[in-house]
């Protein structure tokens, strides 16, 4: 069976033009996928947990689904300060249930934005986010700036589908209708597709961005001859180019969210784009990593009012990154039980946080062994969303797309398992 227009469940580009061949309930071939998507979708059956596992001493013991649900419910129900983390690689439907669970047990729920584009959210909460969908870029953009991101590695088809080579209504010639600029601290492989590379010193984004704003506002007189390793002349040139584009676009990544004053970099970038809109049309977009990290933010926001790091311990949502964020809570040893869904904080959180995870009851819901599952007390295997389960995901530009189920699975989905846990919790009585 050939399935067309399949959605790739890897990165935030959420390409929806894959063709998948399924034979005897197995994926036999994939067309149009990049290496990342191909590897995930073809490798779905490798390294799977076959049964739920419970840690007994230094060993894992196989238990039934039913037992694992009961065990998870018990751990979460008894916790005073539980953390539910992950959510970026599962469906919105599962995330919705995750929030319900967090409310019912009085826990904190956080998602992977906490270690990627959390600062983008904080910047947006200061300044706002002038943005658009990717088709606007495809059809209109004549200037594209990649700032502190490396789509060649992290979003391999982004340039082809949306931002560089693609042809659109007002960009009939595709690549030649566009000027492409890379701003980064090192010459990455993305540089190869760019017209110009501006190399900046690590951690200097904030000063460079505020300088650019001042230049765009016509106040360049105070700007020194060199900022963050970039000549003033070069910034003046870039500002002119930006002002004179018909439709300009900045894509940015971890290079901006993770260095220096982090969210203030983003706020400055957003202010720059806003100033540019006094001269022409300009937008920006974060390059979101996980395929549904944007969806996690969306569901969190409509259900709780806040996009990540939401604390329900007092029965209403409280949000304050720096206080209610996973790494702060873990490092401060405030978490006394943790549920990880479709994510690997053991590999991607910092040492002080992982150390705490190793000490508390830790439940992992994942199809595959991970760094986190090495530390787990309870492992519940799941179906792979986007391969074995359908649902909704949001692309990096907040466009929702329904992803497909390609093959049947003997595993339960995140959606079903969390539903089962909620049912058990409800039997114990919702905590007030």
């Amino acid at each position: 069976m050939i399935i067309e227009d399949v959605i790739c469940p890897f990165c935030g580009s959420l390409c929806d033009d894959l063709t998948v061949e399924v034979k005897d309930n197995e994926i036999a071939g994939i067309e149009n996928a990049c290496k990342l998507g191909y590897s995930k979708m073809m490798g779905y059956e490798h390294d799977r947990y076959e049964r739920p596992l419970k840690r007994v001493g230094d060993e894992f013991k196989e238990i039934s689904y039913e037992e694992s649900i009961e065990e998870a419910a018990k751990i979460l129900y008894n916790a005073k300060s539980p953390l539910l983390y992950g959510w970026a690689s599962t469906s919105c439907e599962a995330i919705e249930r995750g929030i319900e669970l967090a409310v019912k047990i009085g826990g904190v729920i956080d998602q992977t934005a906490t270690v990627c584009h959390g600062p983008t959210v904080l910047g947006t909460q200061e300044v706002g986010k002038p943005s658009c969908t990717l088709g606007e870029v495809k059809n209109r953009a004549d200037l594209v700036i990649y700032w502190g991101c490396n789509p060649f590695h992290a979003h391999p088809r982004h340039a082809e589908r949306y931002s560089t080579f693609t042809k659109g209504y007002f960009t009939k010639k595709g690549r030649t209708d566009r000027k492409i600029v890379l701003v980064d601290i090192r010459k990455t492989d993305t540089e190869g597709i760019c017209d110009r590379f501006i190399q900046i010193e690590p951690g200097s984004d904030y000063k460079i961005l505020t300088s650019l704003i001042a230049i765009v506002m016509g106040k360049e007189e105070s700007i020194p001859e060199e900022i963050g390793g970039v000549k003033k002349e070069e910034l003046l040139g870039l500002a002119e180019e930006m002002k004179h584009a018909n439709f300009g676009m900045v894509f940015f990544g971890m290079g901006v969210t993770m260095t220096g004053p982090k969210y203030k970099n983003i706020a400055a970038l957003e202010r720059l784009v806003r100033e540019l809109n006094r001269h022409t049309k300009f937008s920006l977009m974060p390059m979101r990593g996980h395929y549904n990290v944007a969806g996690a933010g969306a569901v969190f926001t409509w259900r709780t009012g806040f996009p990540y790091a939401v604390d329900f311990r007092r029965g209403y949502p409280y949000y304050n990154p720096g206080e209610t964020t996973s790494n702060d809570l873990l490092t401060r040893e405030e978490v006394d039980a943790m549920l990880v869904v479709a994510s690997d904080p053991g590999a991607h959180f910092v040492n002080s946080s992982v150390r705490r995870m190793a000490k508390i009851p830790l439940i992992v819901m994942d199809p595959h062994p991970s760094a986190t599952s090495e530390l787990a007390d309870l492992i519940i295997p799941t179906a792979i969303s986007g391969v074995e389960m359908d649902g909704t995901a949001y692309r990096m530009d907040d466009v929702p797309i329904r992803f497909k189920k390609l093959i049947d699975s003997k595993f339960k989905s995140d959606f079903e398992i969390i539903g089962d846990i909620i049912e058990k919790i409800e039997k114990r009585g919702v905590k007030d």
Binding site: S81, T210, S222, P261, R314, G322
Partner: protein
């Protein structure tokens, strides 16, 4: 005059939310009544007496004449003195986040260190931190327009990042050093840093920041417009942050 002493028995790591601890809430109440008040620990509600030993001397119906002394381990007690209007709180050790947040009057003395958001959105009164303080001291809540709008904060030690974020009025004095971007998005009021600072004044629109020590990583978007002598020391006077519209912030630095 009413003197209330709370002695912490708590050494857990889950923070206790204790916004109830203010002279306004305690004045005129006896030890038993105070002990029965609710605090929050994780998803549990606990009685104040479960966390503190309470003793009360004297009596007053007026919060102005009420003094609360907090002893013992308080590094995981949050929100002490939140919204207080008068009276006094003395914390003998370290204190957790949001101490004196939204305070409107009275005085808080922290003899140890204070965690982040001390004096957040405060509009009056005085907050004295004798040790170090972390981030966003006198700052705003996420997304709000204003941080501190009045009162005075003094930190004898060092402070973390974003001191006086979005501060609109009032005064902050830091005797030690300040981490990244003091006076960030400041709109008014005055910040004096006696030690060193990193990138002070980022995106400030109004108000005054004086850095008496060394400044590293200067913002490129300030314009020097003269020299001034403050308390016998020569300062260069800068205006900015020029990356913000209608900016009239004043930043004094040596050199």
């Amino acid at each position: 005059m009413q003197n209330i002493t709370l002695k912490s028995k708590y050494d857990g790591r889950i923070s206790v939310e204790a916004e109830i601890i203010t002279p306004d809430n305690f004045s005129g109440k006896d030890a038993k009544e105070i002990g029965e008040m609710d605090l929050f620990m994780g998803n549990k509600t606990v009685k104040l007496k479960d966390i503190f030993e309470v003793s009360v001397e004297g009596s007053s119906e007026n919060p102005e004449d009420t003094e609360i002394i907090i002893k013992g381990n308080t590094d995981r007690i949050k929100r002490i003195g939140e919204g207080m209007t008068s009276g006094k709180i003395v914390i003998e050790g370290d204190v957790d986040m949001h101490c004196g947040a939204m305070m409107r009057g009275g005085k808080i003395i922290v003899k140890g260190d204070a965690d982040s958001w001390a004096g957040r959105e405060m509009s009056g009164g005085e907050l004295l931190i004798e040790g170090d303080a972390k981030n966003y001291i006198g700052g705003a809540y996420r997304g709000e327009t204003y941080g501190m709008t009045g009162g005075k904060i003094t930190v004898k030690g060092n402070v973390g990042a974003y001191l006086g974020e979005k501060m609109k009025d009032g005064e902050i004095v830091v005797e030690g050093d300040a981490d990244m971007i003091s006076g960030m998005e400041m709109l008014g009021g005055k910040i004096i840093i006696k030690g060193d600072a990193i990138m002070p004044g980022g995106e400030m629109k109004g108000g005054t920041v004086i850095v008496m020590g060394e400044v590293t990583d200067r913002m490129p978007t300030f314009k020097m417009d003269g020299m001034e002598i403050i308390e016998g020391i020569e300062f260069n006077r800068y205006t900015g942050d020029l990356s913000v519209r209608r900016a009239k912030g004043v930043l004094y630095m040596k050199g």
